[in-house]
Symmetry: C2
Subunit: 510 residues, 2 copies
């Protein structure tokens, strides 16, 4: 494809993208395919000769779109908000066109320096402490990572090395592997699965601490765990506290956890992957109290700040813990300005890196701080609208009050009833939602999460979502009454949940 053709088909693609977004409500939010749907649609080998773009372009609708889950649709309420916006797409286009690999300052000065500027901008917008900024005189700064999950792993590894180094100061001859076998790190039982996976990857003991009735990890719980573990001869070295958990957007109490970490020399990492964006609005910053104790803090503008995946920002108070811990510097990457500017390859797991700051820059400038605040507040207010509708209906109960832009509810009654509701909604396919499961007051509770995801969402869309829930609740209640009757008559329940129950805790099935 030469530049002449690219000018033509690139503009066709721009229109396709705009049309896709303009008309996204007309598509069924959920794909309707079974595993393996795509294979028969494509040949089993790459073509020998170049194909015509017209034929490839046609296959987008024919081959790809039937298997797409439309995350951009206002009918999509799964997981959490997913970033993406027109300015962000433009940033990725430009980044691809430049195509530099910014592993060192020298390999792309603009790539490195725009990242320093935009992560500083973002840190200031969110009210983070100055020691996290590149412009501050200290050793801190922000960096764009692929994901919050990669950041957690990196922080666990850096914290592990910091603790080993500290212990070597007092005992230089120790076998560090046998010491590591006594290391323990913590997170709440509500932390994202990737936090626990980091423990597996890093091969360190990761202890899940029980959250309180509001699903928040409290200082007292941590204090007791540290005490118990130290009594057993273990060495606490890291904790991941979450601001805005995946399940129901709970907030760990970092103002209680922070001072304990300081006292015990534990690396406090704050994972604010989702809710971090909300701190752009001052009214949500109460949750940030205690952030000054954190060694590292991360949030995902690719979640709730209109940037396309991947764009996760990590700030560190003292870069030396990262840079020095895993520094392997080959001759061919050396350059004359080393040490004067960050070489961001030392701040991350992969060696290579894209020019991702462009999309953050375009987004922050196109929306402005006020535009981002408005976007966040609109999503929060839409969540409150949905909560009000559900409460007013009378049949539903809130698992927790709507928090940020997430509504967690259930049908009053048994878990099975709410599970049937979820499955019915998903089978109808008008909207996309996911369930979650939590232990509350000693009981397993099944609930349904409705996240505000799309930038295009309005009150009218909330109305559509609510009606879809209501309609399914009507059917399910009717069917559930029959089911109870059937069971009373000793006939086996033929109701099969759509998701695999084998993986659920036993008390979920009650």
């Amino acid at each position: 494809m030469d530049s002449k053709q690219f000018r033509e088909v690139g503009k066709q693609m721009i229109d396709y993208i705009a049309d896709y977004h303009d008309n996204i409500r007309q598509r069924s939010v959920k794909h309707n395919v079974s595993p393996g749907y795509l294979l028969p649609l494509l040949p089993d080998s790459a073509p020998e000769d170049p194909e015509r773009w017209e034929d490839i372009f046609k296959d987008i609708e024919k081959v790809i779109m039937p298997g797409v889950m439309h995350w951009r649709s206002p009918r999509f309420h799964g997981y959490f908000a997913v970033g993406g916006s027109y300015p962000s797409i433009l940033g990725d286009m430009l980044g691809d066109a430049i195509g530099c690999i910014g592993f060192s300052w020298a390999s792309g000065p603009a790539c490195t320096e725009l990242e320093m500027v935009t992560t500083d901008w973002l840190g200031k917008m969110m009210g983070l402490p100055e020691h996290f900024l590149h412009s501050h005189s200290g050793l801190g700064g922000g960096v764009i990572q692929t994901t919050a999950s990669e950041t957690v792993l990196l922080c666990v590894l850096a914290a592990r090395n910091r603790m080993v180094a500290r212990m070597k100061e007092t005992d230089p001859d120790m076998n560090h592997h046998s010491v590591i076998s006594r290391f323990v790190c913590y997170s709440s039982d509500q932390a994202n699965s990737s936090v626990h996976r980091s423990g597996l990857l890093a091969d360190v003991r990761m202890r899940k601490l029980q959250s309180d009735d509001n699903f928040s990890l409290r200082g007292e719980t941590l204090r007791k765990a540290i005490e118990e573990d130290k009594a057993k001869g273990l060495i606490p070295f890291f904790i991941c506290a979450t601001l805005g958990t995946t399940g129901c957007c709970a907030f760990d109490s970092i103002k209680e956890i922070g001072p304990l970490c300081e006292k015990e020399g534990i690396w406090l990492h704050i994972d604010a992957a989702y809710a971090g964006s909300a701190f752009v609005c001052p009214e949500y910053r109460e949750h940030l109290e205690g952030v000054e104790y954190a060694e590292t803090f991360s949030t995902n503008p690719h979640k709730w700040m209109l940037c396309n995946y991947d764009l996760s920002v990590m700030w560190i108070k003292n870069r030396e813990y990262l840079v020095d811990a895993f520094n392997v510097d080959p001759f061919y990457l050396k350059h004359q300005n080393e040490g004067r500017v960050p070489d961001f390859r030392h701040w991350q797991i992969p060696l290579g890196r894209r020019f991702r700051a462009l999309k953050l820059w375009f987004v922050l400038r196109c929306y402005g701080v006020k535009g981002i605040q408005q976007y966040i507040r609109t999503h929060v207010s839409l969540a409150e609208e949905l909560e009000a509708l559900l409460v007013k209906d009378g049949r539903f109960e809130m698992h927790v009050p709507a928090t940020m832009a997430l509504v967690c509810f259930r049908l009053k009654g048994t878990n099975k009833l709410s599970e049937m509701l979820h499955d019915h909604i998903m089978a109808r396919g008008d909207i996309y939602i996911i369930p979650d499961y939590a232990r509350a007051q000693g009981k397993g509770v099944y609930f349904i999460r409705v996240a505000m995801v799309s930038e295009y969402m309005t009150s009218d869309d909330i109305e559509v979502t609510f009606r879809a829930i209501q309609r399914s609740a009507d059917c399910v209640q009717e069917r559930y009454a029959d089911l109870l009757q059937t069971e009373k008559n000793g006939v086996k329940d033929d109701y099969m949940p759509l998701i695999n129950n084998d993986a659920c805790p036993a008390d979920f099935k009650k």
Copy 2:
């Protein structure tokens, strides 16, 4: 920005990208900025109010471009080929527009299945064993990773767990941390820095084995190392062999290494990040002999196969070693089709993932196998052209014969002479090259690498590159004669190399 404006400014961006590529030879390949150049060009906070796109767009030339290293330019010969092409940009645009996060099959069936199809296509194109394909009846398959460096880390961790599990079979009560302290893995001394860094991150002993006179790691060297290490009570568990090393594109002998790995139960990972693309041309497949012994194999279409970063493909023979080792499955990611299709989050370090297969699909279809072969062969032949010109000149010697699309040469004589040549070329800035350093026959050798990088490169560009080298050689030889004279007269040499010599081995400075 609404869709109306996006249609307009998106098309403007398409033209900007095409113009940038069409006229890239007119830009100075190397940025001409010093660290901190960008800071005074931007305000120190994000704007409160939205800015006009016209103003943001103007800043691309004003703020960004002065600090860009133009990797797409035919004057750029640094590092290795960097992928990128118009079809690939279109793929990223579409991926951004869809914006699904493909952590599970359910969250984006097309994202998962197109990845299965295109990695199968690519594996077949490269002549990889069938057990690496999803379409094969076994447990193998390909997956798109961010980088080859991330892949190596993942493989080290999986191999570590496999070895621990094996040892637990015979001794269930062992303390696995104390066993890991005896683990050792290997790579050649020519392996990419990220391989050694993986050892640091995974906290396992990574032993660099000496390559032979052709910079290739041989079976006999590995055999001796295993023997020595086992005699010391160590446990070899992993080796990363490289096909196409970063320094001078050497090939480890996997046909010799493979059988040893099989015998000793060592995980063989093959890193063909750069040279893997060449296996699309059957004439280069001799280097693949022994590939059937590999547990994992990776190559970067984002290097030498026209795909934009990031797109690194890893194939694994038995996915269970990955999926089972680090599987933490939260309820909210469960879906009804689990187990029937890959959930690629289990195959990688991060949780999230973009729809990257689109760009591979567009590239393979737009170019066809023949087009990719032609691209590879053109680059190889341009490297040979440059080699012929250098040899004909008489003043230069090849560090190694031109291999794939990489030319490694030096000025005959001392290292200092070649270093001066490099620095002179870089100071002139007509072309961009990087040096490397190797031990050969007991001596430290400084050489200059000239990689064929840009898709747009022609014989005329090679002529330009050669003349730039020649011109600088003229100046340097003259200056060097003066320098020798000055030193003879006892006057201190005022020549300061541009790169920081502190980091170089001492014998490099001779």
